[in-house]
């Protein structure tokens, strides 16, 4: 995913000299194609996230589309007020890019676990979350953001994710579900956001019974503003199980539940949420282990 990101960004920056990349002293082995090609549009703020986000706002206020690159929680929580007041309130074109969504940096410990990032970002009225499930969705998300510069958060996994979404819709819009797999006799769909798509896809693909009954959908672009359009998607399925590598509180499933509550209460009973259980907070382990402890491999027990 991160490779798809930098490839798209470099290609876009060739055409658009307003694209700027700011990093918070992170990105070794990732950002060089950009920093070497466009040294005058690449800035390392040092380990100073508040200033990093302030500078990004200042550059964006003068017409730049600023990509701020860091990992896990770092470009969000330390500088949360800069995102809220400077970026979101002013509506500036700053795209916050975080590599290592969920528990991708498992063994690095809780400081590096981005399991509350959706909750922070989705509470801001102008922010668009781009949480792609595979490299194809990553490319599509970046293209959407480049064509529609706005306050936004791009949550990436790490590297080496397989391609799953073979047919990213050509008219890719926020709030739009991507149909990844259609079951022959569906009783419902598993709706994912972010890199957890790979896990869900594997579980369904490897089980003939589940494969018969459960479709898979992905929602890579979502926000406060795209809640209302969820209703038409929800209505297509008798059951929807949301899956996310994020905690329940303030997360993706909670967002969908809120959408149903706000716009069509009858749909609430169709939704079940699969999010990381609190058991993960005091454990250090690799991503797959944490996702397992967090309950993400046991999709049908609640």
């Amino acid at each position: 995913m991160r490779n798809a990101f930098i490839k798209e960004l470099v290609a876009a920056a060739e055409e658009n000299n307003k694209i700027v990349l700011v990093v918070g002293d992170l990105g070794y082995g990732v950002v060089e194609p950009f920093s070497e090609r466009f040294p005058d549009r690449f800035f390392n703020s040092g380990v100073a996230e508040q200033n990093m986000m302030g500078i990004a706002s200042g550059l964006a206020s003068e017409g730049c589309h600023v990509f701020v690159y860091s990992i896990a929680n770092f470009p969000l929580f330390r500088c949360a007020e800069q995102i809220r007041n400077d970026v979101d309130y002013h509506g500036y074109a700053v795209t916050i890019v975080s590599v290592g969504g969920g528990v991708a940096y498992g063994n690095l410990g809780y400081s590096h676990h981005a399991v509350q990032d959706y909750s922070l970002v989705r509470s801001l009225p102008n922010m668009l979350i781009a949480s792609p499930g595979d490299p194809n969705e990553t490319t599509a998300c970046i293209r959407y953001l480049l064509n529609n510069p706005q306050p936004s958060y791009l949550r990436l996994g790490k590297a080496g994710e397989p391609i799953i979404n073979q047919l990213v819709s050509s008219n890719f819009q926020p709030g739009e579900w991507q149909e990844i797999y259609e079951a022959p006799n569906p009783i419902g769909t598993l709706l994912t956001t972010g890199a957890i798509l790979e896990t869900v896809n594997k579980i369904i693909s490897n089980n003939n019974d589940l494969k018969e009954k459960w479709s898979i959908s992905s929602l890579p672009l979502w926000s406060m503003k795209s809640k209302k359009v969820q209703i038409e998607h929800l209505k297509k399925y008798k059951k929807v199980i949301t899956v996310e590598d994020h905690q329940l509180d303030g997360g993706f499933g909670s967002w969908l539940m809120e959408a149903a509550m706000q716009y069509d209460k009858d749909l609430i009973s169709r939704i079940q949420i699969k999010a990381l259980k609190p058991e993960i907070y005091n454990v250090v382990a690799k991503q797959s282990t944490l996702n397992k402890i967090g309950g993400l491999e046991d999709l049908f027990s609640f």
Partner: protein, 274 residues
Amino acid sequence: MSYSTIQFAKQVRISALEMVYQAKASHIASALSIADIVSVLYENILNIEPSNPRAPERDRFILSKGHACVAVYAALKQIGILTKDQLETYGEDFSWLMNHISHKVPGVEFSTGSLGHGLPVGVGKALAAKQGRHSWHVFVLLSDGEMDEGSNWEALMFAAHHKLSNITAIIDYNKLQSLTSIAETLGLEPLADKLRAFGAHVYEVDGHDHQQLIKVLSEKDSIGKPRVVVAHTTKGKGVSFMENEVKWHYKNPSHEELKRAILEIEGNDAQCIY
């Protein structure tokens, strides 16, 4: 040269007092503290076209101490961007003129209210100007208490590292903050030395002396460093009973106090309508 800025500053103080009185708002002492700095900026320094407040080549001014916004709203009225009628809506429901400076007001570059935001954003703007080879200058006016915020020091380091000589930070050093003095809250001294150590070119001036302010704020030589003007000021300046009194960070004047304040500012020429 400074006669007109002195008249300008008198009017800024009076308008600020009137707005705070009408809206029963706070922070009058903070606004009086920066009235001279703001007046010199708008009357003598900033390249602004009142008929086109968003002209691309304008100088950028950010009031980082957004709670002192009435001084800036008053100055925008003085230069003809806002009208007296608009000022009178200050603090009313649905008014653009909210009690912390708002970018929705014509002529206002950036909204603040939480401290420690203006300088990093100003540095981003200065960086954009340098990248685009624009000649406009960035001015950011901060409070002294605001220098408690680490983000300002991060921004200074960055500005010095990138040799941004197209930005001037002005610190309104009135030595009082929200509960008591700076010295009793979180000492800033030696402030000028700290700023120099962070790579800034530092000036110290009397923040109520228009000649000194005009002199340092006019300097645009290429020194390869961000400029910081430490402006020694008096909180509540111009109204004797508001000077150096913490309570005027919060209190709004009574009708009687407003009258006394305006008479003090106007002196014998007073034409107080209240």
